[in-house]
Subunit: 161 residues, 6 copies
């Protein structure tokens, strides 16, 4: 199978999707940021107040998903019909992480995988930004597509390898 983002000469191109039908599409992406116990607890406690870290990160993720076409060079502009970002706090044997899941829907000619991945990445980066005064060693990891439905290439389900 060939990359679709290049023409015969190997030049980057925003591929022609004009022939593709508009279908209902959904994509869900996930990612994590590993944080220190101190950051973890501050995020937890903040979440009882106004203006907590996760609410700002959620807004940032949703807004970034809408701008994906301006950030990813060969990405098509799509009219997202839905976008949400959800977080879960993970604490396992003294290891702490915040998980972000971004769900995006559209009725369009191309999929919304990139929008979902951009939403997750920007939400995690915003968490980093808002907590970096406390800890700069946070790491973003496990950012991948979780699920995809609709479109010619068919459905996709992430399999843990």
């Amino acid at each position: 199978m060939e990359f679709t983002h290049f023409d015969e000469q190997g030049n980057a191109v925003m591929v022609d999707v004009g022939e593709k039908p508009e279908t209902r599409r959904m994509a869900k992406a996930v990612g994590r940021i590993k944080v220190s116990e101190e950051v973890f607890q501050k995020i937890q406690n903040k979440s009882m107040e106004k203006g907590d870290v996760l609410n700002v990160a959620r807004v940032a993720g949703i807004m970034a998903a809408k701008q994906t076409f301006q950030l990813i060079p060969m990405c098509h502009l799509l009219m997202l019909t839905k976008c949400s970002v959800d977080f879960t706090l993970h604490e396992e044997e003294g290891r702490y992480a915040v998980e972000a899941v971004c769900t995006v829907k559209t009725n369009g000619k191309t999929g919304v995988e990139m929008e979902a991945l951009m939403g997750v990445s920007t939400a995690l980066l915003t968490i980093y930004d808002m907590c970096k005064a406390v800890d700069k060693s946070m790491e973003m990891t496990g950012i991948h597509l979780l699920e995809k439905t609709g479109g010619k290439s068919g459905d996709f389900q992430w399999k843990e390898s």
Copy 2:
């Protein structure tokens, strides 16, 4: 130590850096995208031609770093004096990955950690976008700050835990 992105009431705020001196600052961030052998080889081979994946990803990373202040809600606008993105291809025991490093410099009142992390993330997302027709199971991982110099909070070096 407290989060600096909230006021006393816990409301998100773009913190006051007006008193801070302009100092020369540098930040370097790193991240990886794990790819299949097929994608890996296509990226390698493309790199002998015009318009290969990594060149498009490099441009995307640099352009995104310049737009960090518009994507990360509480991030200050900075005039970057330098930005570059470099890639290395990793092949270890049948596992394949592309590593991106983004280096950003400024003379400013705040650091450029977020710009470097945004540059890495967007470069990796662009690689995903350009290769996803071949493989949707690529995963972005190990995105973190590598090094930081300048500014009140002093220098930072990533320590593998």
Copy 3:
């Protein structure tokens, strides 16, 4: 009736409009900026020349309406089929104001109220910007939806309370 911009957990979300039909929609918003007599007369006189205040404000309002989806976090991207901004000068018993009306149309799944309101607000802010060297006490007031047609929620007409 419930807010539609939150999920069950009270988290902000860009709501799912995928099921909604595309209908022809129109929204008209209005607002005023109260100005001093001096500013009022300068605006009037300028309007006989090239590059007057109202022409710059009109362009700014139309361009901002097209960017509403990037400024209002939970707003959907819509392909506006029409956008215009009109001004009327009001002089009543020594009180002076410029009124802006922004009319926006689309064929889409959601309404264009926000686009019309954004067009009005930005047009008025541009008038403020271009006249503030003369008077900083200008006030923007009475910014509201005037009329709305199309869509499930039906038509709307502003009633002066």
Copy 4:
């Protein structure tokens, strides 16, 4: 006194501030949105939860303030050193309103009045967007500069007329 945004021929121009010294500047703007009792109570109650209206509006206002130079045609790009948006809920004899105050600081050659006004306007528009499913008759009013310090034109204090 003359408008500074036009040249001798009356053409709009982004005025030359190259000669102006960089001084510490602050601007504070205010505005209100009148809401129904139902909306008022929902905003109040939401504010005990995550993702409430005011937090989303705060983020929107801060992000819009940073983009003022791209929305107001003759506005200079400034590196904001601080930006915050605060809300107060007003209930007077059965009339309900949310007040937004945006405070912006910079060290620059021009003032930040427009950034503060843009922050207020966009925060209020976001409240409208998030509550419009309940009530479309909300009105934004009393948007004006509250205070300004620094710069050649000197300090400014709003006087209720």
Copy 5:
């Protein structure tokens, strides 16, 4: 025939295309940048390597085409279904130039002439930017629509006058 970007009063307006059918549309624009022999040869040689001038210019042109609606005041937002930029190197009797052709497609209510022209202009400006350290006397010339198909106004073919 009348300009369509003005109303009866001569005010600029983003014209109403709501009644127009969605048709398949294509536009192709061309332009050149005249360069010195030294620049010409450097571009040629670079094109054997990674990160050459033309690849960066190609990405810039495609990304700018997607942002046309934000740069050209009365331009409608369109969902481009395809966008590509191609270059040819011209050497004629000691005169050197790089030619850029941008091809854009959409299924929409208005044409994509502006997107194609914006893609060409930005690609040429990027070449200027990347080569200006060597020669600042480069000139962009012959930027025009080459071909257009679809839409009420019918097809267009450029005729050399």
Copy 6:
């Protein structure tokens, strides 16, 4: 002399200007759009009214100049201290053209040639957009740097070859 936008490996890079002093810089660029007699006369006549073509093009050019850093990949963000766009109408032996000149100033570490060229190009593209309903054969030509002062590379004056 070498291109400055590439590193030793030939990879595109936003060059390091951190060491460069901030100096007062000015750049002036020029360009033309050749139009039909009909378009020429309509532009002339419009210019006696509100909302004429040239006023809209002027605003577009100034706004685009401020966004140059987001459109030209390796371009640094600069705080423009001045930007203006001026037009002159040319009629020579039955050949008609509109000439645009964009003048940009900054106090910065890099020059503003690209901002001036972007301002001219976008102003001309806007004229094309607003007149294309009458004539699609307009051509943009002779877009080049006219003059540049300040900075290490010294002053530049365009010489007609």
